[in-house]
Symmetry: C2
Subunit: 372 residues, 2 copies
């Protein structure tokens, strides 16, 4: 279980409030010194993103930009930054959390004596939220904000969610709905008999595995992200991986999108490189369908879907990513391009409805037949 004592929700909130306070105090100091108030904001662009070979994460570099108050092109963004910071402080103080859409409405108003709005569009407040995350080194969840909620989970473990003790081994056919915020102040792990985590891309496959009670027989935590895993799902998996020492297996389709879903879980994404450290699981194992599985499992031609131009383009891009430069990945992606087709996990149902449960996953895990 967690090595260090988790901080209380109040301690965590106070820590973030403190950071916001320091940002504001810095501005006040600059005003008093009659200098041009400015905030140093790490640059969130491809130019400042790199794959760190050692941590095996896509990380943000050290480049920063100065956001100045006395600068016609920056004054509005400067004001917006503090406006969002203030709303986050209110949320933290009141112990409430909200969506980034809601924050937009909370912060939107017409400036007194002017016709100018604080925000015209949510894209503006979303960008400022990301600026604040990197500037304060606080995830949006720590600012009490969240994006979409998606995904379900079952397995032989007991958690505490917002004070409620929940036995994930008794969740029926629906499962526990994974919340947007899965930080340690909301979710704690009480006991766990699982030996690994199985993340499946598709909800329908999750359903199949849950109905077959795969997780009970195979002692695993069964998670679906319904497509690309949300931040809440990724953060939760990383915490289970670190705190409970559970390996993570990722079951995706045999296509470039499946590879992408896996790679974001493994080392983060380019657009949100600053969060990799808190979300990514570099040891995640790829259990997805592979081009060579077509022959290996004697799959029928019926399940082949021709790669389209977009697929080919994406696959070629992936060949060039430093995080896919290892031999096994170059081979895998080249195999897909050579084969000229992709396959969905559901292709296995063409053999038998429970083939994925009874043969595919147990066999691959037993033979350590995964990519990493």
């Amino acid at each position: 279980m967690a090595a260090r004592r988790p901080r209380t929700p109040q301690e965590r909130a106070d820590h973030t409030i403190d950071k916001i306070g320091k940002l504001a105090a810095g501005a006040v100091k600059q005003v008093k010194a009659k200098s041009n108030p400015a905030i140093e904001i790490p640059i969130r662009a491809l130019s400042n993103v790199a794959f760190n070979e050692q941590s095996r994460l896509i990380e943000l570099g050290d480049s920063k930009q100065s956001r100045e108050f006395f600068n016609v092109s920056m004054a509005k963004k400067y004001m917006q930054t503090f406006l969002v910071a203030e709303k986050c402080k209110d949320l933290l103080t009141s112990g409430k959390t909200t969506s980034i859409r809601d924050l937009f409405y909370m912060a939107k108003h017409t400036i007194k004596g002017a016709k100018e709005n604080t925000f015209d569009d949510q894209t503006e407040s979303d960008a400022v939220i990301e600026d604040l995350e990197v500037t304060l080194d606080s995830l949006r969840e720590e600012l009490h904000l969240f994006a979409a909620k998606r995904g379900s989970m079952v397995g032989p473990m007991v958690i505490v969610d917002a004070g409620d003790t929940i036995n994930l081994g008794r969740m029926g056919s629906g499962g526990w709905s994974i919340p947007s915020i899965t930080e340690e102040n909301v979710i704690q792990f009480k006991s766990c008999e699982a030996e690994y985590i199985l993340l499946v891309e598709k909800e329908a496959v999750w359903h199949r595995l849950n109905e077959d009670k795969f997780w009970r027989k195979n002692k695993c935590v069964l998670v679906t992200g319904n497509g690309q895993a949300t931040r809440g799902v990724r953060r939760l998996m990383q915490r289970m991986h670190k705190e409970l020492k559970l390996p993570v297996y990722v079951l995706v389709d045999n296509d470039p999108w499946g590879l992408y879903i896996y790679s974001v879980i493994k080392q983060g994404s380019i657009s949100l490189a600053y969060e990799s450290m808190r979300m990514a699981v570099p040891d995640a194992r790829f259990l997805g369908l592979r081009s060579r599985d077509f022959k290996r499992f004697k799959l029928s031609d019926d399940v082949r879907i021709d790669l389209n131009k977009e697929d080919e383009k994406r696959a070629k891009q992936m060949l060039a990513y430093p995080w896919f430069e290892a031999k096994q990945w170059q081979e895998e992606i080249t195999d897909m391009l050579k084969a000229g087709f992709k396959m969905e996990i559901e292709a296995l149902s063409n053999k038998d409805i429970s083939f994925v449960t009874d043969v595919y996953i147990p066999e691959k895990i037993a033979k350590k037949d995964w990519l990493a």
Copy 2:
């Protein structure tokens, strides 16, 4: 609680297997009689759909089409119908359920000695599934098939889901993930202290209400469909409404899409008119944001979003629907068109983050200020 004893899962499955068997026996009989084998399939098109004033449901009419074996344009569909029926029988016999995507893969193969596939595309098998639903008068869930799963639920009630007893009053921040199939063989209601059901369109609003423990204070079941309610959510609400005698309130945005979401919950949709009887809740009450709420709650101009052409077109279509012909709906839709703007529920956060929890919903319910 439910008036009649729920049938066991086996009894329910046997009943559906029996219907499939009769369909097949009919075909065999026609073959033996050397007539042209044919199935009578209710027509699922606008021409055969009407709003029934008495039941207040969008219902399918009596028109049928004959699908014949000895007919070049129908032979393939005839074969497909029995192929899907056979796969459903297999599912029912094995007690397994699966996605409509998976069924496509299960039924897809190249016909021996030909280059013809049984199915080339999932749209073909999806259409045949709908044909079977109307022909057998069995929902797809009764054929052990399901579409997408989406939505969460909490509240002061205890349910049984696939044999697991789940206290929905102790589900933390995430909630219980509503499964795709919510028929009585999967979900049973054990005890309930709720006095009504509150369905909110948006997950973020659901989160706000759950965090504020609105459902505990106000004794309600809190449900979100994350956008348009899935079949699983709608079926579950109808069952709670009927079996537990709970009124249903629907909280949606002030826009044509919000009205549409409400209207599908209330009387079903045109495209799936045959399922209305098992899914719709004609007594559902509209608690959504209304154009007149703008003045009533003294909302700021900041939250107004101009109607676009598509919105105006949809609103005008709705004015013509028989299920919106009552005076209050004509006024409501006309108000929206006159105002020329729409509003999201999150607009209420512009006043205060918990305005929706503390003022909007309790006040509207207390004053019976809803539309129906």
